[in-house]
């Protein structure tokens, strides 16, 4: 098949032999900024706001749930199976469905709900990014199909930035088939460079830091 053909062509073009090791790589360039937790929290909130996301700094779990309830505002919502959301009590709010583990059922639910609620494995302060690893607790669709996304994040999960994330998770593929970095609401500028939010993903993103 084409495999051997292509690999052979590559080797001949480069003057290499099969199995020849490349010179060692220099260590990866990872630079972690030392930022204390209060600055990380403040940075996260400020960056999300700058991207037209909404934020709320909750002192207690109850405050977080109250804010989430005001966002949901009686709309249909679907929450991920993250234990943290159950601890918060947000899954007990009226109109919030959770605990779905079937792929098709979850997809249909996400396609009809107005709000998706997730936690986040990490957040990146310097870019205002949520990091979600797909698992039995966090599905891909909840932060993607509903027009609004609420993420409730414990403040200890906020890292300084991408470099710190990649130092904690040097091999994300060993943990999950999908790690997604979410930086603000879905957007496009494909027609006349005019910014429009909420194209295919949520146009409304709320980040609640507890």
């Amino acid at each position: 098949m084409s495999r051997e053909l292509i690999l052979d062509k590559v080797r001949i073009a480069l003057g290499r032999t099969k199995g020849q090791q490349p010179p060692p790589l220099p260590p990866a360039r990872i630079r972690i900024a030392e930022v204390n937790i209060d600055f990380r929290v403040a940075g996260m909130l400020q960056k999300v706001e700058a991207l037209a996301g909404k934020t709320f700094l909750a002192g207690t779990l109850a405050e977080a749930v109250n804010y989430a309830a005001s966002v949901i505002d009686g709309r249909e919502a679907v929450a991920s199976n993250a234990p943290f959301l159950r601890e918060c009590g947000v899954t007990a709010l009226p109109g919030v469905r959770t605990g779905v583990t079937d792929r098709v059922e979850l997809r249909e639910l996400c396609a009809s709900c107005a709000v998706g609620i997730t936690s986040a494995d990490y957040a990146l302060a310097d870019t205002g990014t949520l990091v979600i690893l797909s698992s039995g607790h966090e599905a891909r669709m909840i932060s993607l199909l509903p027009p609004a996304h609420i993420a409730i994040v414990p403040r200890g999960r906020i890292l300084s930035g991408l470099d710190e994330l990649l130092s904690i998770l040097p091999f994300p593929a060993e943990q999950t088939s999908s790690m997604v970095l979410i930086t603000g609401p879905s957007r496009t500028a494909d027609i006349e460079q005019i910014l429009v939010r909420g194209v295919h993903g949520p146009g409304e993103v709320h980040v609640i830091v507890v």
Binding site: A28, S134, L145, P172, T176, S177, S178, D190, I191
Partner: protein
């Protein structure tokens, strides 16, 4: 320069609305990039560029190693790697898989690599529906056009053209409000995502040590294409590899900022293999198609190999005075701008458009902004040398050589040169500005006419330097 290339350029230059659209869009992208790199926004930008260049060099110079490492890691995560030598290989693989799985509908997220092999047309030819889901790509697919720009494919379309297009193709009322147009597309495409059997994406990076495909985007269509259908196929050129997941700390910082001025795009997906054990959603099958399509040929030339370092940010297009004047569709292939000018001849052969490497002022703006430091002007010069050498081998270019020989002979005969100069000043048309605009009648022969169509000649002076010298009054004596 071929007649077709020339015609396309003249058409673009003559379209005032288009000129404004290109100029405006590229200017905005330049401003955004500039802002993202200013002051404290990314102080180590130059160091990151050096690092990215070194990483790409290491990967490309040892590409077989990283390809095999990547393949082994994809397999370890229950995915499959399919090596394809050309467009037919890719469409054969997808058609066979679609047939086996009874698939009819394919959703696609933006991929220049699939544009390169006309994948949509090939699939449609076999009664598969392939729908582009990036808003810009969707618009140009409806219009049956090629992307105008690597990053902003529908940059040349106005909202009014989009309104007419949607009305005609989708049967919706003529809607000229951009927000509403976007929602129309969202509605149509949402149905497609949920019904699709296969999702096809490109890849911004392939990670050798993880067997992962990394996709960056702003809309969410790539996430949907790779997560909603049961099958995900990523189609990528073999040059997309980088060694380690941790190297993303270098490349992601450069890509978003260089392309659209974003520190990170809205979504960055790191995908490896099909859905696992406890995971609730995601595809059940995961394939990575590794495409050659001329890349191994390009690798042979160590002087131009760096053309494969490109991460498709589009910054060189935005900063190129030629691209900004002639636009994306004047270029002879899917890749436009400076990067298109260096990879098109290497992928498609020099004869595809011999004028392409010459369609540059060699101003160097492209090399200055390139996040992986490809020396585009140098590669252009090498390609020019290749074109000239090929012409000579074919016995062409004789006239040009003869003209320069005649000129050299004239320069070596001062008396004749002076007579020629006097003749020129007598024959030259009158000029009050000191410049001869247009083409003087005596020079109106094809190659000279083409050359003068972009240049003005200085009008010959009434007295030549030699005449002035002879009649000068020596100052030293008059004192």
């Amino acid at each position: 320069m071929s007649v077709v290339f020339d015609e396309k350029i003249n058409r673009a230059r003559g379209d005032g609305r288009l000129q404004l659209a290109i100029y405006d869009a590229t200017a905005r992208l330049m401003d955004k990039r500039k802002h993202a790199l200013e002051g404290d926004n990314l102080p180590d930008f130059q160091e990151l560029r050096d690092c990215a260049n070194a990483l790409k060099k290491q990967t490309i110079d040892n590409l077989d190693h990283y390809l095999e490492q990547f393949e082994a890691n994809v397999i370890a995560h229950a995915g499959k790697v399919v090596f394809c030598k050309d467009a037919t290989d890719v469409s054969d693989f997808i058609l066979k898989l679609a047939k086996e799985r009874g698939a009819r509908l394919i959703v696609k997220s933006k991929s220049m690599t699939t544009e390169e092999i006309d994948l949509n047309e090939r699939l449609e030819h076999h009664n598969l529906e392939a729908v582009e889901t990036d808003l810009g790509e969707y618009i140009i697919q409806l219009a049956h056009e090629r992307p105008y720009h690597i990053v902003a494919p529908a940059m040349h379309k106005t909202r009014y053209q989009v309104a007419d297009l949607f009305e005609e193709k989708l049967g919706v009322p003529n809607e000229t409000v951009i927000e509403k147009q976007t929602m129309i597309a969202r509605g149509v495409l949402r149905e497609k995502f949920l019904a699709a059997d296969i999702g096809i994406s490109g890849a911004n990076f392939l990670i050798a040590d993880s067997g992962a495909v990394v996709l960056v985007e702003n809309e969410g269509n790539a996430r949907l294409s790779t997560s909603a259908p049961k099958i995900h196929i990523a189609v990528a050129g073999i040059e997309k590899l980088i060694p380690r997941a941790q190297d993303l700390a270098v490349f992601l910082k450069l890509l978003g900022r260089s392309a659209t001025g974003q520190p990170l795009t809205v979504y960055t997906s790191f995908l490896s293999g099909p859905r696992r054990g406890e995971e609730i959603d995601g595809p059940g099958e995961f394939y990575v198609v590794l495409l050659d399509n001329g890349r191994t040929k390009l690798l042979e030339d160590s002087g131009k190999r760096e053309s494969l370092y490109c991460i498709r940010c589009g910054a060189c297009l935005n900063h190129c005075p030629v691209y900004r004047k002639i636009g994306g569709h004047s270029f002879p292939w899917v890749y436009s701008g400076p990067i298109g000018a260096i990879i098109t001849p290497q992928f498609m052969g020099l004869n595809h458009e011999p004028g392409l490497p010459f369609a540059s002022s060699l101003c160097g703006a492209c090399a200055e902004v390139c996040p992986v430091k490809i020396d585009i002007p140098r590669v252009l010069l090498e390609l020019r040398a290749d074109v000239t050498a090929a012409k000579e081998r074919e016995g062409q270019g004789g006239l040009e050589r003869m003209a320069f020989r005649a000129y050299a002979w004239l320069m070596r005969h001062p008396k004749l040169f002076e007579i020629a100069g006097r003749l020129a000043s007598v024959l030259a048309p009158a000029s009050s500005s000191g410049w001869l605009r247009g083409v003087p009648a005596i020079m109106n022969i094809p190659p000279v006419r083409a050359w003068l169509s972009q240049r003005d000649l200085p009008a010959p002076p009434h007295q030549s330097f030699r005449q002035q010298w002879r009649t000068r009054v020596p100052r030293i004596n008059s004192r």
